[in-house]
């Protein structure tokens, strides 16, 4: 009995050894750590859908250097602790070749330590507060230098706003964005009459809204974590009857749609809106609808860069003719992607010039574009990174 088992086992081992050479290549693994739970959970499904469509399209066209792409999705719970676990499992257990994802700044900052240790290329597809620099990091979404000026300028010129109230989530993104906003407002002659923060997972804005009312501000600008805090703040804002001009630096079209009537009137500044009138965007939207049907989550400024990020990675591998981290890192600055947001190249100190749209959310959840700003420069994000 034992001897026949041994024979069977050695037979299996032989087969495995013979098959081994063809298994060595395998798919190119892309890790997607994203907030499936927590604050970002409202947006995360749309991000995963974008990644899935990109991977499907690329694999149908023959893959990259003859190998298919495979996605590994992990939940980072929208925070640092979860990101620690997600990045660890993706980089060291699943041994992904690259990370392409959108996450909160808290999660990104925690994950970068692991990215550095694992030497894994990381394409960050979320807008954020800027100045995050790492030899393995590339960003294809906007930074405050690109996003804030249109909203503040509009309020100052069109609404004659002189005093502003700022509300944010208490972490790198909320504080970083509002720090930039305050500097920009003050540089342009305005005044900031209040600046209040709640923890990222906080949902009780009662006292902050009371302070807003008492401040007599002309306009409100908010920068909470993407997803849930936007909804709770807007819900409570409207329930309290506040109708000030409201610029939201961190809401995407998908979240705005889920807010229903409460979102009407919010001003946003984004690098993507579904109403962008280009053939590339129309094709993208049609393909998303065809793949996901009525499970489709509205493509938005947090999910479309994910789609383009996957294509950027593909282009970089093809240019470098290898999946080795150092080769890909070098190539990512040299390749450009033609996607729903136009032609994007991450060649400005690891960041990308982007076309920005100032828009206002309508009653049906769609965004009406008021003005477009072509190829806005991200400014000096990582001057010390070579």
């Amino acid at each position: 009995m034992f001897r026949s088992c041994l024979k069977g086992a050695s037979g299996l081992v032989l087969c495995a050894l013979l098959a081994a050479p063809s298994l060595a290549e395998g798919p190119i693994k892309i890790g997607v750590p994203v907030g499936l739970s927590g604050a970002n959970s409202v947006v995360a499904p749309s991000v995963v859908q974008s990644a899935e469509l990109a991977v499907e399209e690329i694999n149908k066209a023959g893959g990259v250097l003859g190998r298919p792409l495979a996605l590994e999705v992990a939940d980072d719970a929208s925070g640092a602790a979860g990101a620690q676990k997600a990045f660890d499992s993706l980089i060291f257990q699943k041994k992904v070749d690259a990370l392409i994802s959108m996450e909160t700044s808290a999660a990104r900052n925690a994950g970068l330590a692991l990215v550095q240790r694992g030497k894994t290329p990381f394409i960050y597809t979320s807008f954020y507060e800027g100045r995050s620099c790492n030899p393995y990091l590339y960003v294809n979404a906007w930074v405050p230098e690109q996003q804030v000026p249109p909203i503040v300028d509009h309020f100052m010129k069109t609404n004659n706003a002189k005093s502003f109230f700022l509300i944010g989530s208490d972490y790198a993104f909320g504080r970083g964005m509002l720090q930039f906003t305050r500097a920009y407002i003050e540089k342009n002659g305005g005044k900031v009459v209040g600046e209040e923060y709640l923890p990222m997972d906080g949902s009780d804005w009662t006292s902050i809204l009371s302070k807003l009312r008492a401040s007599g501000a002309d306009a409100l600008i908010t920068s909470t974590a993407g997803g849930a805090p936007n909804v709770t703040l807007t819900k409570q804002l409207r329930a309290a009857g506040i109708t000030l001009p409201y610029g939201n630096l961190a809401v995407d079209e998908g979240t705005a749609k889920s807010m229903g009537a409460d979102a009407e009137g919010i001003f946003i500044s984004a690098s993507y809106v579904t109403s962008i009138d280009t053939p590339a965007n129309k094709k993208f939207l049609a393909d998303m609808k065809a793949k996901f049907g009525d499970q489709l989550k509205t493509p938005n400024d947090l999910s479309v860069p994910e789609y383009e990020g996957v294509y950027a990675y593909k282009a970089a591998i093809e240019k470098a003719k290898s999946t080795k981290a150092d080769d890909v890192i070098k190539a990512l600055a040299e390749v450009s992607v033609d996607g729903p947001r136009g032609t994007i190249q991450m060649n400005k100190e690891r960041h990308a010039p982007l076309t920005m749209y100032l828009g206002q959310v309508q009653a049906d959840g769609s965004v009406k574009v008021i003005q477009a700003f072509k190829d806005v420069d991200p400014g000096d994000q990582c001057p010390n990174l070579k």
Binding site: L36, S37, G38, A39, S41, V42, A44, P45, D75, D170, E196, Y197, L198, P199, G202, S203, D204, T206, S207, I208, S210, K211, R213, A214, G227, A228, V231, T232, K235, Q236, R238, A239, A240, G241, S258
Partner: protein, 277 residues
């Protein structure tokens, strides 16, 4: 004026969340650590009401019924075998809370979701506009409080419950079916927790672990309140008021710690808390 309304409505929400826990603590002498999970059950009940396009006002009675039903099941399977072992019962309810939130995650997904508010808009109160829903929640809480007072003082069950709270062995000796009193109390306590969950949902969001921060605050309030509703209402008003004041004048982050810190201070100074001692 606004801050007064903030204090009163926040205190009302804390009161309604803590009531279910107090009721179970008073009669069964155990802390139901699954209280947060029942809160979550009520919240998801409100979510389901929105999903099925029913009248959002139905979510409150529906949540109470669902919470009570689950409470009945839980009492039979988890709590009753542990009547003689209150410490083990506490541990068991904590584990139960974890199991319930995992079931909710399996059924509804772990992402944050939102339920529709039954009422939107503001009401003008003494010159200030204030959120209509918060005022309605205040009214519902007052109604619950009065309903409870009537139940405790005016019904047979209430009389039996008071006897059990005072001295269970003596009550049993007098012929009161204490096991039935315990069962009814547990069921009502869970139903109340679910109702509170449905009440807080329109103000924020729903996710499988939303009950935990409320459980901690409710636990503190119950510890400080002793076993009467009046002292619970007083505790909710004072501690809740402190939380609102600290959040408004200092920072919401410090405000979140206020209830826990103040409870510790109160119990240190007066071990009976707000109760009669």
């Amino acid at each position: 004026m606004t801050i007064t309304l903030d204090i009163v409505t926040t205190a009302a929400l804390l009161f309604v969340v803590a009531t279910g826990l107090l009721v179970i603590f008073g009669v069964l002498k155990i802390i139901n650590f699954a209280h947060g999970a029942f809160l979550t059950i009520g919240a998801y009940g409100a979510l389901a009401t929105t999903a099925f396009n029913l009248n959002p006002w139905l979510s409150f009675p529906l949540a109470f019924v669902i919470g009570a039903a689950v409470g009945l099941l839980v009492e039979r399977l988890v709590v009753r075998p542990l009547y003689d072992r209150p410490l083990d019962a506490i541990l068991a309810t904590w584990g139960l809370g974890i199991v319930i939130s995992q079931f909710i995650t399996l059924g509804f997904g772990r992402e944050i979701q939102f339920a529709r508010s039954p009422l939107s808009g503001t009401i003008s109160v003494l010159g200030e506009t204030y959120s209509a829903y918060r005022l309605v929640a205040l009214a519902i809480t007052v109604a619950v409080g009065i309903g409870f007072a009537v139940l405790i003082e005016g019904t047979r069950l209430g009389l039996s419950a008071r006897a059990v709270i005072m001295n269970e062995d003596l009550a049993r000796g007098l012929g009161i079916d204490t096991y039935r009193v315990r069962r009814m109390t547990f069921v009502v306590g869970c139903g109340l927790a679910a109702l509170a969950g449905a009440l807080i949902t329109p103000l924020s969001s729903v996710d499988p672990n939303m009950g935990v921060p409320w459980l901690i605050n409710a636990f503190m309030l119950v510890m400080v309140a002793g076993s009467s509703f009046v002292s619970l209402a007083l505790a909710a008003l004072i501690l809740g008021g402190a939380q609102v004041v600290v959040s408004s004048y200092f920072s919401p982050i410090l405000g979140g710690m206020t209830i826990v810190l103040l409870s510790a201070v109160v119990l240190r100074l007066r071990p009976a808390g707000f109760g009669r001692g």
